[in-house]
């Protein structure tokens, strides 16, 4: 019981230090243009940027663009995940398919998805579909590879046991393959969510379909530095939120799993 106050003290100290770190960063940012180290035209004062950020938050047009970006993100992530889970399970469970597709996967996976941007533009023009091609391609592999690993990781003894107890194929899938694959799937999903967001914004920057990315590109070409930095902060916050939400989902879904239970203080 005596351990408890020290632990709380430590958590408090940690939180305090974290706040100090963030504040320090903002102060240094404010000081650099103030001291004239970098022209405020290129690195605006942090106060200006934050003011612009709050201005954006009450602007309906901003939220529409944000919604547009997140819609692409959500559609892309969903399609990629569903396709990857189905294909990954089938390929992972059938040894012949695994061997036959190995080289294809090893060649297609490292192709940087942004290389496909020109192709997507040719096929769909400046539309959401072009962005979706890039988003789906990039996030598909993250999930697919994890699912294949996960499905292949089923314990041999457990599988033999299930077989000798006469579990049907469907029962084996839900009681054996699914629990084994779930941690892998959640890892893949978390990675894919981050990648999908990156590419949703990138696609808008390069292709020019409406959304936050195009807004960033427009503020750059207009020389609106404060607006540009404010949007960069927004994308950072978005990324942070996606990470936090998916980590939370992962912990929730895997609450029964050793990797999550082991983290709890004993």
């Amino acid at each position: 019981m005596r351990v408890f106050p020290t632990r709380r003290l430590r958590a408090l100290r940690k939180a305090m230090l974290g706040v100090v770190g963030l504040t320090g960063f903002l102060v240094v940012w404010q000081l650099i243009p103030t001291l004239g180290l970098i022209n405020p035209l290129y690195l605006p004062y942090v106060t200006d940027v934050l003011a612009r950020l709050f201005e954006q938050l009450v602007d309906l047009a901003f939220w529409r663009r944000l919604g547009s970006t997140m819609t692409s993100w959500a559609i892309g992530l969903t399609v990629a995940t569903v396709a990857a889970v189905i294909l990954g399970t089938v390929v992972g469970l059938v040894p012949f398919l695994r061997r036959a597709t190995h080289t294809m996967v090893e060649f297609l996976r490292p192709i940087p998805s942004v290389a496909l941007i020109p192709l997507a533009v040719l096929m769909f023009g400046i539309q959401r579909q072009a962005a979706l091609v890039i988003i789906i391609y990039a996030s598909f592999w993250q999930v697919f590879v994890q699912v294949i690993y996960g499905v292949a990781d089923v314990d041999a003894v457990a599988r033999d046991t299930a077989r000798s107890f006469g579990l049907t194929r469907r029962e084996q899938l839900s009681h054996l393959v699914l629990p084994t694959t779930l941690p892998y799937l959640m890892t893949g999903l978390r990675l894919a969510a981050a990648v999908a967001l990156i590419l949703a914004i990138t696609a808008e920057m390069v292709i020019g379909n409406p959304g936050l990315g195009r807004m960033i590109e427009l503020s750059r070409s207009a020389g609106d530095a404060a607006g540009l930095y404010a949007l960069v902060v927004v994308t950072g916050l978005l990324g942070l939120m996606v990470n936090i939400v998916f980590r939370f989902i992962e912990r929730r879904v895997l609450s029964w799993h050793q990797s999550v239970r082991g983290e709890e203080p004993l």
Partner: protein, 274 residues
């Protein structure tokens, strides 16, 4: 497709030398060849201009990239990529080790790093253009500012995860700081560090391409975007193919390096599993 399946299954079952060689060739090359042939057949029949057949692409590949374009576009791109990755690795491991070993520093920087890592790296391209102009330095800075995070954060985690019994043993044997770093902390963190480097490589490649699509008059990314704008479809495909080859090459090279660096680690896991 079904007939094909049947043939493979029988060749593996009969264990003559000839069929085994056939299987080892057919498995890795069967599906790609089949798809290429299919693509060729569909492409020659359809009127869709955006999907030329593989032979046309191969021809365009030879004409476009083998020659002066290789020196003018491909080599500078790869040089920037290499410099950016090298700088990320050095800076990421150095900073990660210091932060991972110092508790207060870690707690001080954790929320900040968490935020900076969450910024989608391509967003930094406009910022870097503003601060540095359209230069080679800017492109390398962009690559580093995106690729450093996986290495940095993985190094911090890896250094933190050093076995405490070993740390205490090293302490009680009065092993010097440098020796401890070199023989205990870095090797213990190396599996995590390598995982970070693998992620960093793909991020770096993406940033190399986009930074050139965005702001450049040379380089692989610029060329591909140029071909697309001028409707040079086969040339554009050959550029995508080249980028794919670069990606595959990086993955293979990384695999070789990783196997060497982590030989001891894979060995231990092998023993534990047996």
């Amino acid at each position: 497709m079904t007939a094909y399946t049947g043939r493979i299954a029988t060749t593996t079952r009969s264990r003559t030398v000839g069929s085994r060689i056939a299987a080892s060739v057919l498995y890795p090359l069967g599906l790609p060849t089949l798809l290429l042939v299919l693509w060729g057949l569909v492409a020659t029949r359809s009127t869709n201009r955006f999907f030329p057949d593989p032979l046309t692409i191969a021809e365009a590949f030879r004409e476009t990239w083998i020659g002066p374009a290789f020196v003018e576009d491909v080599l500078p791109s790869l040089a920037r990529l290499g410099l950016g990755v090298a700088a990320s690795i050095v800076l990421g491991i150095a900073a990660g080790t210091v932060i991972g070993l110092t508790r207060w520093l870690r707690e001080l920087l954790e929320p900040l790093l968490e935020f900076l890592r969450a910024i989608p790296p391509p967003v930094l391209i406009p910022v870097a253009m503003l601060l540095l102009g359209i230069t080679d330095t800017m492109k390398i800075v962009v690559i580093v500012s995106g690729a450093i995070w996986p290495i940095l954060l993985n190094t911090i985690e890896g250094v933190r995860g050093t076995d405490s019994v070993m740390t205490e043993t090293a302490e009680s044997f009065q092993v010097t700081w440098w020796e401890r770093l070199w023989f205990l902390v870095l090797p213990a963190a190396s599996p995590r560090i390598m995982a970070g480097v693998r992620q960093a490589l793909s991020v770096a490649l993406i940033l190399m391409v986009i930074s050139e699509m965005f702001a450049s008059s040379s380089g692989l990314g610029y060329r591909i975007a140029y071909f697309q704008r001028n409707y040079l479809i086969a040339e554009m495909w050959s550029g995508i193919l080249l980028l794919g080859l670069v990606g595959v090459f990086l993955a293979v090279a990384f695999g070789l390096v990783e196997r060497r660096v982590l030989r001891w680690y894979h060995g231990i896991r092998e023993v534990n599993r047996a």
